[in-house]
Symmetry: C2
Subunit: 340 residues, 2 copies
């Protein structure tokens, strides 16, 4: 089959990869209907994370089940499925407590590489959720978003306790930040402040339900959030970048007793214990437990209540993956969908 | 009046201080029935925090109201009162949301210095809670504990979501850690693991309801907590020290999705964003919103349901405050009560 392989920073190729096979009786093989490039794929692409030799890429996926192992009960060949970017057995104590992304048996799907024609999904029963029937073609980008960026934005908003009566600020205008805006509104937040300096992203944020746009960053951005919240800071802040600056911006924009959901994969971030202590915020984040939210998200999508696929502003054939990476790296695209 | 003044690290004296006066119509003056030395007083005593000239000391207090300002409505002269180590107006949005220790008008009572015969309490209405009648003399240490160490341990346990069905680990065996053990049990925790290497403190932890004692520290302590929790880590961890080592121990002893209440005033602590991210814990702490818990804690004490005053294992006249500090510094005493 054909699949995306990164050889070095900036060097992404589509080449022949071995066809996936059932390795464990709990595996499933899916044929991808769509896959995409993640903001986190840009870390190795930009050389911030090391590239250790030729690395299959991709961890987001939707598609049709082709084959299942002997122990798989919840999905069957022919079904259209959505899965999380982390596989989970669905039965361990951590899964049952609502944290499948920290399942004791988890596999990060990067290890599989879903930017390909087909993929092996470990722990299919605990990882995949079938849609009600074959979805309309126009829903495929929305369902693909659920696999990671929507689920991650949703977790950010949940962790930040976005809800009725609350003002939510979102730091970061990438796909996850924009979908945190959508999630916060969907969860009932009264006011959602999107922090963005890019006109096209501001537009999408407003479409997703942002009530305010703050273009300032750093200390000025924090000052602006305070001004909008009676000097106190937001009740809820979603951090969707993962840098030192964005984490500081999140912590300093939150009122005492408020909640931060941080879902940007942290890179070289150090937090001063003293500041966290006296800020009196709640801090929670990490790899989003997407699987937990999939049934609800699929339902919202199939009933056309939300349209998270709007974050894909570039669609390319899988063979043109290199251009998809380039466009995101140069911020010409928010997020690239690849059609195998 | 007489009061404790720190002149330099290790140099604590009881000397004549000016009598407190009503400065604002919301003030009250109390005559102290008892005060005490806090673990946090040891930071300047040990020279870790700077001592900026002669500094009146103390922030914990119980006593009888002597005089109130013209606007005070909730307490009156003659009442026995308990107050938090942070004054709060009780009316701002942050107070009303349950975080009086971050009140927009707060005054840390260190600025007043309650290791003295009398003290001015700002925002008396929002800060003080009267007991039902004059308490029995033997309850005074318990009520004094509520002013800070009990309220702080309680907040740690609440922030860590100690409760039925949960295993709680407590890092730190000072007065706050020990009272976090008491609080966790009182809140219904099934299992409470006290981490302590000191026999007398282990004994008190068991008396307060600890079900397990872990004497190991650092990596070995974390390993031990994992062994006691099916390899997953505790649901809830209270951090009651505030050092780099204790914060790491807390984070690494908590299972994914678990909760940490950190109430040790952080000193020179830096947390790696990456580790926090992948740990997937909930982190919440800071100066405890003691005032919020006072009515409940006073009720438990006056009904003799809890005996937090057991942490005072040394009682001295105010004039011997220097010895009280020394005994705590040398870990001969857990906590020193001073009688003015």
């Amino acid at each position: 089959m054909r699949g995306v392989v990164m050889h070095a920073p900036g060097d992404v190729r589509v080449e022949q990869r071995e066809d996936p096979k059932i390795l464990a009786p709990t595996d499933a093989i899916i044929r991808l209907a769509a896959t995409c490039v993640c903001g986190s794929d840009l870390w190795p692409y930009r050389g911030v994370d090391a590239v250790e030799g030729a690395t299959p890429m991709g961890h987001e996926y939707v598609g049709v089940v082709e084959e299942v192992g002997a122990d798989v009960r919840n999905v069957r060949p022919g079904q259209f499925v959505v899965g999380s970017f982390v596989s989970s057995d669905g039965t361990c104590e951590i899964c049952r407590s609502g944290y499948p992304s920290s399942c004791v048996e988890r596999v990060f799907m990067n290890a599989v590489g879903t930017q390909a024609e087909r993929a092996r999904i470990p722990h299919a029963d605990g990882t995949l959720v079938a849609t009600p029937g074959m979805p309309d073609a126009d829903l495929i980008p929305d369902l693909l978003a659920a696999s990671d960026v929507l689920g991650t934005g949703w977790f950010g908003a949940v962790a930040a306790q976005a809800g009725p009566g609350r003002t939510v600020a979102v730091v970061g205008d990438g796909a996850v930040g924009l979908l945190a805006v959508l999630s916060a509104r969907q969860l009932g937040a009264e006011r959602v402040i999107a922090m963005s300096r890019h006109e096209s992203r501001q537009k999408l944020a407003l479409e997703f339900g942002a009530t305010d746009i703050v273009t300032e960053r750093g200390d000025e951005g924090i000052q602006k959030i305070k001004e909008l919240t009676g000097g106190l800071g937001a009740h809820s802040v979603v951090e969707a970048v993962g840098t030192q600056q964005s984490m500081h911006q999140a912590i300093r924009s939150t009122r005492p007793g408020g909640h931060i959901g941080f879902v940007g994969v942290n890179h070289d971030v150090t937090l001063a214990g003293e500041e966290l202590f006296f800020s009196q915020v709640h801090l929670h984040g990490g790899p989003a437990p997407v699987r937990q939210y999939l049934p609800e998200l699929i339902d919202l999508i199939c009933n056309r209540k939300i349209n998270p696929g709007r974050v894909f502003d570039l669609t390319l054939p899988l063979d043109e993956a290199a251009e998809g990476y380039r466009a995101m790296d140069e911020r010409r695209a928010i997020k690239t969908l690849l059609r195998p």
